[in-house]
């Protein structure tokens, strides 16, 4: 292992991020290598120095702003949910309205078949016996019914 590779493994050893087998091997090496022992000591002192560095603290105002922002996000989320629910409700209403319209159209009584039409589509015998006068009367009745005349 090169010096650089060993130094890098020492860095990981310092962090407790090596396997048990490697830890045992490195500790055995450290006992007999002053240079690596000195490197381990420097790593410890560096960590102590860094951990003593001041940590910036968040002001109370900044924390309050964070909480207000969280409230705003919750309100915006509720607003989005409300819009989605309204859209779903509108879609359901539309589907129901279409279904109702179609159902009503299917059950409405059909326009009565005019007598002259019935006569025209029945057997030849019936047609043959209806006089022209009778046919005309049927047509007139049908027209009167449609126009709403007495």
């Amino acid at each position: 292992m090169s010096e650089c590779e060993r130094a890098q493994r020492l860095s990981a050893y310092h962090d407790g991020e090596v396997s048990e087998a490697e830890r045992v091997s490195l500790e055995a090496h450290l006992e007999g290598c002053p240079a690596c022992a000195a490197e381990r000591n420097r790593l410890r002192r560096l960590s102590d120095l860094l951990s003593a560095a001041p940590r910036p603290e968040m002001s109370a105002d900044a924390l309050a702003r964070l909480h207000r922002a969280a409230d705003d996000m919750a309100m915006a989320d509720l607003g989005r949910m409300a819009k989605t629910l309204m859209a779903v409700a509108a879609s359901i209403l539309l589907v129901c309205a279409v279904w109702l319209w179609q159902s009503r159209a299917a059950t409405e009584p059909t326009e009565p078949i005019p007598a002259w039409e019935t006569a025209a589509t029945t057997s030849q015998g019936t047609l043959a016996t209806a006089s022209d006068e009778q046919l005309a009367r049927w047509i007139v009745q049908d027209l009167e019914r449609k126009n709403g005349h007495d």
Binding site: D15, E17, L46, M58, L66, A74
Partner: protein, 187 residues
């Protein structure tokens, strides 16, 4: 850890589940628990209090939007750290380096209430902070996450989106640079 009333506080995962189901107070509790830590990280990442506040706000906004997508494969702490790291990267891409506008943590108009250290002189603390800020963003990130936040290599790999081996090598090189800059304090 019990609360002031002696009742055990809910775990982060329980708070997140409640927040996911619309419990606003649970999300506020998560903010209270993690805001200070995330702010300290962000301020160390960017060296600027105002930007750090923006990054933390964007972090919690991202967390709120991602509540339903959180799968629980990592801790809530690591998850929030990952979001913060991504927001910091986005911030860095947006921000150009204008030295005149960069405000050192110790001289900002909005003074940072640094934790007093009885064992280190003020100039030592400034030297350490300067040395961290002089690192490249990649090296600064791993040093902060490891030395200041105590994340494991696996947690750092997940938060940074890089292989574990890359974490290890970056940390090694970052430490070498810091050892060089701070050798007066280490010898």
């Amino acid at each position: 850890m019990p609360s002031e009333s002696g009742q055990p506080q809910p775990a982060d995962a329980a708070l997140l589940r409640r927040a996911r189901h619309g419990d606003a107070s649970a999300f506020h509790d998560l903010v209270d628990r993690h805001a200070a830590r995330l702010f300290a990280m962000a301020a160390s990442f960017v060296g600027n209090v105002t930007d750090a506040e923006d990054i933390v706000q964007e972090t919690f906004a991202g967390a709120f939007r991602g509540l339903r997508a959180f799968e629980g494969r990592s801790s809530v702490r690591t998850w929030l750290t990952s979001i913060l790291v991504r927001q910091t990267a986005m911030h860095r891409r947006r921000t150009t380096r204008r030295e005149a506008r960069l405000v050192r943590l110790e001289t900002t108009a909005e003074p940072v209430a640094a934790v007093p250290s009885p064992t280190q002189a003020a100039d030592t603390r400034i030297d350490v902070m300067d040395a961290i800020q002089l690192l490249s963003p990649q090296h600064r990130d791993v040093i902060i996450l490891r030395e200041l936040e105590g994340l494991s290599y696996d947690e750092m790999a997940e938060a940074l989106g890089i292989p574990r081996g890359t974490v290890e090598s970056r940390l090694f090189r970052a430490r070498r640079q810091l050892q060089e800059r701070l050798k007066g304090y280490l010898d």
